[in-house]
Subunit: 120 residues, 2 copies
């Protein structure tokens, strides 16, 4: 699938040649589901189709979220951050976002150094 990133979007990216860390957030619950990466091509496809499509660093290829698992993400909105090098997607997640079967990939707590949450 070849889709071109709109020029006005490309111009707003800090570097359209670099991978862009992309946060997917459940648009209803506000839960942060996962962090993945987009390149210009996957962002273009996401804009065009409304389905979250990322770039896999380990496989060096595009992947439409849920293409294999069925756990797709319908994109409700996309926001770029203030310096143009991170993205936030509001999504409607089908099934679990994490390959472990959990809602969110962020399910491994790291304890602060005291029970009250750090020394402060």
């Amino acid at each position: 699938m070849s889709v071109h990133l709109p020029d006005d979007v490309a111009a707003r990216l800090k570097n359209s040649e670099e991978l862009i860390p992309t946060i997917a957030q459940d648009h209803k619950s506000g839960e942060v589901l996962m962090l993945a990466y987009m390149n210009a091509q996957s962002l273009a496809i996401t804009i065009d189709t409304g389905r979250a499509t990322y770039y896999s660093r380990s496989r060096s290829e595009l992947w439409e979220k849920g293409a294999a698992s069925g756990h797709s993400q319908k994109v409700i909105s996309i926001s770029l951050d203030c310096d143009g090098d991170a993205l936030l997607l509001q999504v409607e997640q089908v099934g679990a976002a994490c390959h472990t079967g959990k809602n969110s990939c962020f399910h491994n707590p790291i304890s602060l150094s005291t029970e009250t949450g750090g020394k402060k």
Copy 2:
């Protein structure tokens, strides 16, 4: 400030030598505030102090969020993702998270290709 990352935390990171993209989320509103980077040292300091401390890629140095602006982040909890290469902080944000004065750094919308949100 020299603080050592606890061995059990280091062991859970995919690569403790790499920068780790870190999402800060308002623990009350659920708003995603920003994405920044941590290295092992800044994560150790954050765990120890309960104050979000990042690593600046442009300045190549640690920065405690709000040290200059006063817009600090008290860390309520830290979660590591399923493959150990991204972090999510639940924070209590003092003032605005973004240097522009906005609550969140993600304030630049990118439009989907149709009003209904992509072709789907």
